[in-house]
């Protein structure tokens, strides 16, 4: 696993241990360095990751490298944020609005909805 500031990049082998076997709310950004929308989102996602770091982990998967993960999660493009809880996908946002509020809503909304529902 490589460390990139607040968002850790996970490779195929680390995905299982970090995301599927991880505890608590987890957000994964499926991205590619060659994706212009990912580039715009990057500093905002860093900010959002800083805000939620006490209660949520944020990871990054480079789909240009991790093709198998991209296929497994049936991604149709980038950036796609997928939220996991106890190894289950609980929410997904394709191309979140590149504002702090838009990203915060994308990465915390599914977990908040689950809390309210329970």
């Amino acid at each position: 696993m490589q460390t990139a500031e607040l968002i850790q990049t996970v490779t195929g082998s680390a995905f299982k241990t970090s995301v599927l076997e991880g505890t608590g709310p987890i957000a994964v950004e499926f991205m590619s360095y060659g994706c212009a929308h990912c580039r715009v989102l990057e500093p905002i996602l860093q900010q959002a990751a800083d805000r939620v770091k006490a209660r949520e982990h944020v990871f990054r998967v480079n789909v240009a490298v991790e093709r198998e993960l991209a296929e497994r999660y049936q991604l149709e493009g980038t950036p796609t944020l997928v939220m996991f809880l106890n190894a289950q996908e609980v929410g997904r946002t394709e191309g979140p609005h590149p504002t702090l509020s838009g990203v915060m809503s994308a990465i915390t909304g599914p977990f908040d909805s689950l809390k309210q529902g329970s």
Binding site: G77, P79, G95
Partner: protein, 173 residues
């Protein structure tokens, strides 16, 4: 930091326009001695590998703007990188000297080149590259007109901040 024997031109390997330009540079540089020849390399997907070439090199910045890594450890970006590449090519040297020409403290031909690079960078999405940058509103408008004319985008409407990419999620062979 790796020692670089010759300048390295980093290009977006996902972009057909960038690949064509890099290919043209390679072909034009034929006959140039190896040490003086620019080495074209796709940016790739490994931030650490890029930092090993130059610690100040950021992969996001490399995809956003053309970068030329110099053997002395410096970097040239944008129009300055293009000027340096043209200076190195035998078929462009005859006019590339003009980029150094100063008039009243300005370099008018370099300014023109900077403007040309800026325009090309903006219209690349029109030429088929979505990964180089998000087009400005006029370019977006023109592209939407072209898409409508060609009916190139049937199906569901995409989120506006999303690259529905056949490269980003290309199925494995």
């Amino acid at each position: 930091m790796q020692t670089i024997p010759a300048p390295i031109l980093l290009f977006n390997g996902e972009c057909a326009v960038c690949r064509s330009i890099a290919h043209w540079v390679g072909v034009s540089a034929q006959g140039v001695p190896v040490g003086a020849r620019i080495d074209e390399r796709p940016i790739g997907d490994d931030p650490a590998a890029l930092r090993s070439l130059n610690p100040d090199l950021d992969i996001w910045a490399a995809y956003e703007t053309i970068h030329l890594l110099m053997p002395d450890g410096s970097m040239k970006v944008g129009g300055e990188a293009v000027a340096e590449v043209l200076r190195s090519l035998p078929n462009c040297r005859w006019f590339a000297w003009t980029f150094d020409l100063k008039l009243l403290g300005f370099r008018p031909f370099q300014l023109l080149l900077d403007a040309g690079y800026f325009v090309l960078a903006d219209v690349r999405p029109l030429l088929g590259c979505e990964s180089c940058g998000i087009p400005s509103p006029p370019v977006k408008f023109i592209r939407s007109l072209i898409d409508r004319l060609l009916q190139a985008r049937p199906g569901k409407t995409r989120a506006p901040h999303f690259t529905a990419s056949n490269r980003a999620v290309k199925p494995t062979a």
